[in-house]
Point group: C2
Chain length 273, copies 2
DNA sequence: CAAGGAATCTCATATCTTGAGAATCTTGAT
DNA sequence: ATCAAGATTCTCAAGATATGAGATTCCTTG
């Protein structure tokens, strides 16, 4: 049996399998029957069944009236405990909300994990095509404005470390495809103070992001505005960037990273060491 | 080694243990070291270590800079996938938000699972003492307004089944403590159309809830308003109940449970097959 | 710089998971 | 109704897999 195990030396077969089951159910947008689970994962009916029963007992999985399996609400519980540590999310929300009202476009709050950015929160404007992103999901750093915003303001060594981990997959024809190109882009980002993703993640989607710096002036997250390229035009970028900076400044104050009074030092200048 | 396994026949030791680890980390509000995890769970250092490494590989746990363990963001991802199925949450949110603006008190959206209610969403008013509830968490049916609201409108057999499962623990001196008392309370709830929790869950906290009925007029969720007893006074209950009904009506329409025009035809007749 | 505490790692052993297959339950077609 | 096809649940013997004692290494702190 081939295992889906990512690289890593420690192994507990049962766990890898269980998570494979959860993964599968998480990917599928419709509940799956035992047989489907078993065959998709190359598990024996019997084995898959046992796993599902145990997962169900833990409420990690639940059954629809017709007996199919889907993710259970225990995961929702765990998920909420997991972000609770990041009280960033709660504190940032009001600011994001205001930002969305102003810009009429979707706002995201993201953090960096390994070489991917994770969406901690998303606020959508009242009337707008729903974006496909799901809170909790992740994207590669190099093709998102948030990723670039964080990366650009990370200390050189840590940034290099992240870049090393990137697998430069091409998602659109504009996706940055080499470490060199990415480094150049980061330079540009630092100069203007905000990062742009110009249809590099998805055709027709343009995003702009600024980093949220903590008390040590290290980026802990990024806030972005995303929208269809025809609405988020190149001309509007500077003004949106401004609104983003304002928003981030508010969050910084709320988080206690900066005192509200002297909250105005340009983030750009601060980075020297 | 004693296992924490709930009742249930199927067993996979490794899974039960892994979830015990997650549970432990979820309960603790500070990250835990390997030794703490091992001793709390009566696992061998070595075993606990292996589990943590595997969980970390799957990003179910992550390590703080000083090497302690806490819940990982993968859980956040899974959690969000898990509620995605309940698009109820998204649809209800705007209505809840309006409700909160009107009442200036905290609103909850809950569903029933087994004999507990699970908090799908919580909206807090701008200025208010933060409530202790965590989205995703759960409480026993019998001591919450939401629980009683759903229970009261469930078909008799299903309600009975739920009641059978309740372990009548006393959380305050007012907590309903017997099936009979609960049945009486349900009768009362049906008569007036809304459920009340008068400091039965927590001293000083009063809540009021109404059920959200689907197209078959079966309760699928409940919406509540909670606040300190001195603000959510007995006199205000009817007027809050009214606002709740309004809110729930809006959600029903959004969910397509009722047509907005003739929102009041009893769909009772529809249930035959 | 040493000592104590914590985290990692190794490996032989037996425990726990595995999966073949039989039994049972559903579903849909006739 | 009745049957067949498909899906799910259950049992149990075999052996692969997780286990944990303990040795080793890595930090921390005095």
């Amino acid at each position: 049996m081939r295992d889906t195990t990512p690289q890593g030396t420690y192994k507990v077969q049962a766990l890898d399998r269980a998570f494979a089951v959860l993964d599968l159910l998480g990917e599928s947008d419709t509940p799956l029957g035992l047989a489907q689970v078993a065959s998709s994962l190359q598990l024996h009916k019997s084995t898959a069944h046992r796993f599902l029963m145990v997962l169900e007992r833990h409420r990690m999985v639940e059954r629809t009236p017709n007996g199919k399996f889907r993710l259970g609400l225990r995961l929702f519980d765990f998920g909420n405990r997991a972000i609770e540590q990041y009280d960033l999310r709660d504190r940032a929300q009001p600011h994001l909300r205001r930002l969305v009202t102003e810009t009429e476009e979707t706002a995201h709050l993201c953090i960096l994990e390994a070489a991917r950015v994770i969406y901690l929160d998303k606020i959508e404007p009242a009337r707008s095509v729903r974006m496909i992103t799901r809170i909790g999901a992740s994207n590669p750093v190099h093709c998102t404005s948030v990723g670039k915003a964080i990366l650009a303001f990370l200390p050189p060594e840590r940034a290099a470390e992240v870049v090393r981990r990137i697998r430069f997959e091409r998602l659109t024809h504009r996706t940055i495809a080499t470490p060199e190109a990415l480094r150049a882009e980061m330079e540009k980002t630092r100069r203007r103070g905000y990062a742009v993703d110009d249809e590099e993640l998805e055709e027709g989607l343009r995003c702009i992001a600024v980093p949220l710096l903590d008390a040590q002036r290290l980026p802990v997250a990024a806030v972005s505005i995303s929208g269809p390229s025809f609405r988020v035009t190149a001309q509007k970028l500077p003004s949106i960037a401004n609104q983003l900076l304002q928003c981030v400044r508010g969050i910084s104050v709320d988080m206690g990273y900066v005192s509200s009074s002297r909250a105005n030092r340009a983030a750009t200048a601060a980075w020297t060491a």
